[in-house]
């Protein structure tokens, strides 16, 4: 395999694996929505 062949293969694969990993990291670590507890004690 030529040096450029390695470059194209590694860059393409790093990009798709990296983008997918980053996207799923963002999706799975989404901060939970904070909901105010109802003020049942009235004060």
């Amino acid at each position: 395999m030529t040096a450029l062949g390695w470059v194209f293969m590694l860059v393409s694969n790093t990009f798709v694996w990296g983008l997918t990993a980053w996207c799923f990291y963002k999706v799975l670590t989404v901060p939970k929505e904070i909901t105010e507890p109802p003020d049942t004690l009235g004060g």
Binding site: M1, T2, L4, G5, W6, V7, F8, M9, S12, N13, F15, V16, W17, L19, T20, C23, F24, K26, V27, L28, V30
Partner: protein, 537 residues
């Protein structure tokens, strides 16, 4: 009116469903063949250009339009495009968004049944390729099995006696209908949340096996893993001067990402109002790319090269996606000894999962449309959808000779109309609805922001890119396609089936339009969306 109240259970569910819809046979079989034939590694330059200028922006537009339509109580392409295109013209163009998945499903479940049938055949002993025979004999044996199994030899061969393939189709179709019948959350979402990881596990097993093959035949030292990867990845920059390379790259992105297919707009309409569409759209696209470049680009041709060598690869690539998957790879598996059958089972099971996660997404838009347009309950709408699909699939299976009947539908619906629908969608979103308003809506609940320059890309670059690709395609292929149809009665029959289906969908849209107006729905997009307090904004 039977209102569709379904919603996705989780955010991951809709992402995996859209990714599952996108990941199909083309990721593993079509992409490597296209890349190798169009410049190898250099193909990735036009490929990634098409991803950034066509695939991702049209995908974002579809996700946004779908969620917006869902908030107005609309779930089908005709009704949603009527809102974004502000009137009847775009509503009727939206029929294409139901026609494409429905007509493609006529042959897609048939091909899906091949994958299940091959998986079963490998589980029960393989397809009978003798690894000791000359390569040409092995390929002929694999080709004969493929022709017999799929009915490529004669019309009606399946109806006349090859019951095996028909039974696999019945199983495949029944599973599809059952999953769609169970609904968005309990059927489709539940299925994809195990099917997608299972597909990834299968792909990783096959990838590891292929990359650790080394040099299996010491007498042929040049047939090794590195040279196999080189066959796929060594760049030929001369290919970039050929417009065909750019056309092939754009076509691959289109077919692969499921954009312009009518599926994303329907799936996104079941999202909640605060669900993110920007990151979800990007994640679904990235997942598809992982399966295509990371697995498809590394497995298929590498394995074929290691066992077949350079001289047999030209024929393998020219044999197209199905020749590569159903004729060449079985020869490769035969050279792996007893383990070849295990890899064969895993490979075809993976293809089956890739196909079924796509096919269920083809039925849901039609089901949603029939419910919405005719006001029918789920059971009745499924009945109509099943009737149309059974008629379509039976014709595809009966007229099986040479695959001419189904490949005509694939050409005109699965290729030509995808460009048309993508153009309709991006014009409706960027020009009629307005790019600023569209991007502002996309950012509701978004976890990441669409880069500012994508406003310009979606308004000017994407439509221009689409027009150029479409014009080049028409200039290069359209006259030949028309000639083929005029010469071949089977092709005319296939187009008659498509036309008949279109007429049914247009009638349904006509009745639906009257019902939606009577129900007071804002089908011409004249009113803004109500905000959380119920006020119009």
């Amino acid at each position: 009116m039977a209102m569709d109240k379904e919603q996705w259970g989780t955010r991951l569910g809709v992402i995996l469903a859209v990714a599952g819809s996108a990941v199909g046979l083309g990721n593993f079989l079509r992409f490597p063949g296209q890349a190798a034939a169009n410049g190898g590694g250099a193909f990735m330059i036009p490929y990634f250009c098409a991803l950034f200028f066509l695939g991702i922006p049209i995908g974002w537009a579809e996700w946004t339009m779908g969620r917006y339509g869902g908030r107005k109580g609309l779930h089908s392409a005709p009704s949603i495009l009527g809102v974004f295109g502000k009137g009847r013209f775009f509503r009727y163009l939206g029929v294409i968004g139901v026609l494409i998945p429905l007509a493609v499903s006529f042959y897609y479940t048939y091909i899906e049944a091949w994958c299940l049938g091959y998986c079963w055949t490998y589980l029960t002993g393989g397809i009978g390729v003798n690894a000791a025979a000359p390569i040409a004999e092995q390929t002929a044996r694999a080709g004969q099995f493929y022709a017999d199994f799929t009915g490529r030899g004669e019309n009606g061969v399946i109806a006349a006696g090859s019951w095996g393939t028909f039974i696999f189709w019945v199983i495949t179709f029944s599973v599809n209908v059952w999953l769609v019948y169970r609904g968005i959350s309990k059927g489709i979402e539940k299925f994809v949340t195990w099917a997608m990881p299972a597909m990834a596990v299968c792909a990783i097993i096959v990838l590891i096996r292929v990359l650790t093959l080394g040099t299996p035949d010491p007498a042929q030292p040049e047939q090794n893993v590195v040279n196999g990867l080189a066959y796929m990845w060594n760049p030929n920059f001369e290919a970039l001067k050929n417009p065909q390379t750019w056309l092939a790259a754009a076509g691959q992105i289109f077919f692969s990402l499921s954009v312009g297919f009518g599926v994303i707009i329907n799936y996104a309409s079941y999202m909640k109002r605060k669900d993110d569409v920007v990151l979800s759209g990007l994640t679904a696209s990235a997942t598809n790319e992982l399966f295509e470049v990371g697995f498809g680009g590394m497995i298929t041709l590498t394995a074929a090269f290691i066992f077949l060598g350079t001289s047999n690869m030209i024929g393998a690539v020219q044999g197209g996606s199905f020749g590569l998957g159903f004729t060449t790879l079985p020869v490769v598996f035969a050279h792996m000894g007893w383990f070849g059958n295990v890899i064969g089972v895993i490979w075809f099971f993976m293809l089956f999962l890739a196909a079924i996660t796509s096919s269920i997404s083809m039925y849901q838009p039609a089901l949603a449309f029939f419910r919405e347009a005719l006001g029918w309950e789920r059971r009745s709408a499924i009945g109509l959808m099943v009737f149309i699909c059974v008629v379509g699939s039976f014709l595809v299976m009966y007229y099986s000779k040479g695959g001419i009947f189904w490949s005509t539908i694939d050409d005109w619906v699965g290729t030509f109309l995808i460009y048309v629908l993508a153009m309709v969608q991006i014009i409706a979103f960027s020009w009629i609805f307005g790019i600023k308003k569209g991007l502002a809506d996309a950012h509701h609940g978004a976890q990441i922001r669409i880069p500012w320059f994508y406003g310009f890309i979606m308004k000017y670059v994407t439509p221009t890119y689409l027009l150029v690709v479409f014009a080049a395609f028409c200039w290069k292929d359209l006259a030949g396609w028309v000639r083929q149809v005029s010469d071949e009665p089977l092709r005319q029959g296939a187009l008659a089936l498509v036309l008949g289906t279109t007429v049914v969908l247009v009638f349904c849209t006509f009745f639906g339009e009257r019902r939606w107006k009577a129900a007071g729905l804002d089908i011409d997009g004249k009113l803004p969306l109500p905000d959380e307090k119920g006020e119009r904004r």
